[in-house]
Subunit: 288 residues, 2 copies
């Protein structure tokens, strides 16, 4: 049992991420008491019954008043509204942190909304499962997974250190990155691939309306390849909107690559095509 | 032991597909004797030593002279040249068939090149592994997998029936489709996804040159998603060139979907984006 880093932590949104963070930190002794807040009263009741949280608060104001640290695990586009609502009720010295997958706009919103004496630290744990809700949460979710913290020039150093220790207590390997770099990285390795997959399903589905055999033969590789097009539409709407700038850059770059490829297919340039595919294979095989 | 359907089968290209077909048909008793031909003498020697083939022929002409059936398992763009070379040496009544993954142009080439009295049946077994060569072949490769035969108006009915029985003897579920329909279906469910993945790796790699963190974070979902960009560059060059028409149609349709999506990301149209993602998810989840 470590000496607690935090006496009272309030988790806003006790789903897979918020619930797992609560379980991990209570389990490791890094946090003494967890208060849960959730729009979904059924989910909050489940969290309380399962012992994911020690207390279920009836409102945001009630939930955060006694908090030494607030963990925001709500959809990225809800964060600003939630922070605006809870800000007046925070005690001085409180730390607010989050687990959202888009950071630049979100961090700027939070820093602007929180009063002096309250520190904000942006975070993004690279972890998840296909399930959601408090019942799906488990203490080991973050074990061995990376968590990126996104401090800015104004981030309080002590608060940053505390949040880092909490993620380490949850088993994460913690890295730091400025918020915009974070968003550019995830636009490339995650957000663009999701857009690519969503658009691909649409194109193939449109073709399948003309040729029914397409559906019959989409069960193999196509189904595997488009797995990420089954991701939560609301979450991905929010990510696309919140990470617009970096995502548009990547979408344009990708459209250029695709147009170049299309041109060489049309002109029948086998030398170019082989080289293009060979380079892709090499680059992809280099990823470890 | 079934009564043999074919006395002597010659396999041109004794790799994963050709070797596995030979093993499966000898194993089931559907074929009595297998002659192997291969540009790669080392591979052919291995095939002989492993008993994949009963005889290794020194040349195409020698290999096909005694054949009741010739199975072409060479790259799709080599088929025409191989057929032109072997055509003068075939016995009357011989059946020629193939296992290429593009059919329309290939079938027309073969039908034009083969002499009267020799039947051609186009085929495409939907099976494979990441390995290649005779040593990677195994009799069960086609078991339970689909094989598409692509007869045309001029295909000999008896030859078609024989080829169908051979694939059934290898354990395949055989379906028929006209060659162009086949190519449209596979442009959608396989060829377009490969192009999409190859272009995606290029776009992300170009971004990674500016932002090194991108490489560090590409090990997770991105690596899984782009697995098919590790496919054989020469094979995919040939597929892109041989299935140009249907592939260009799909590439254009896909580029349109992507441009529409980009437009709504730029304009911040959350309602449209959520609907687009929701439709993708529903369509993808419907694939069984």
């Amino acid at each position: 049992m470590t000496r607690p880093l935090i006496r009272t932590m309030t988790v806003i949104g006790v789903g897979l991420i918020g619930g797992s963070f609560a379980r991990a930190l209570k389990g490791s002794g890094a946090v003494e008491r967890v208060i849960g807040v959730d729009r979904d009263q059924e989910n909050l009741k489940t969290a309380l019954e399962l012992g994911v949280v020690d207390e279920a608060a009836p409102s945001l104001a009630d939930g955060v008043r006694a908090a030494d640290l607030v963990f925001l695990a709500v959809p990225v586009r809800s964060v600003a509204a939630v922070v605006a609502e809870l800000a007046p009720h925070l005690a001085g010295g409180c730390i607010v942190t989050d687990g959202g997958s888009v950071k630049d706009e979100l961090v700027r919103q939070c820093e602007a909304l929180l009063p002096a004496g309250v520190a904000f630290v942006g975070g993004h744990p690279i972890a998840g499962t296909e399930h959601s809700g408090a019942a799906a949460s488990f203490a080991e979710l973050f074990k061995g997974r990376r968590c990126i913290l996104t401090p800015t020039a104004t981030t309080d150093a002590a608060a940053l250190q505390t949040v880092r220790r909490l993620w380490e207590a949850a088993g994460s390997r913690v890295e730091s990155m400025d918020p915009l770099t974070h968003d550019r990285v995830f636009a490339a390795v995650s957000h663009l691939p999701h857009m690519v997959a969503y658009a691909l399903v649409h194109a193939v589905a449109a073709s399948a309306e003309e040729e029914e055999n397409i559906l019959a033969f989409s069960a193999g590789g196509f189904r595997d390849f488009t797995r990420i097009a089954s991701s939560d539409p609301v979450m991905w709407r929010d990510i696309a909107l919140m990470n617009r700038g970096p995502l548009l850059d990547l979408l344009d770059r990708y459209a250029d690559e695709l147009a170049a490829l299309r041109q060489r297919v049309e002109s029948g340039d086998g030398t170019w095509l082989e080289q293009f595919f060979r380079t892709s294979k090499r680059l992809r095989d280099e990823i470890t």
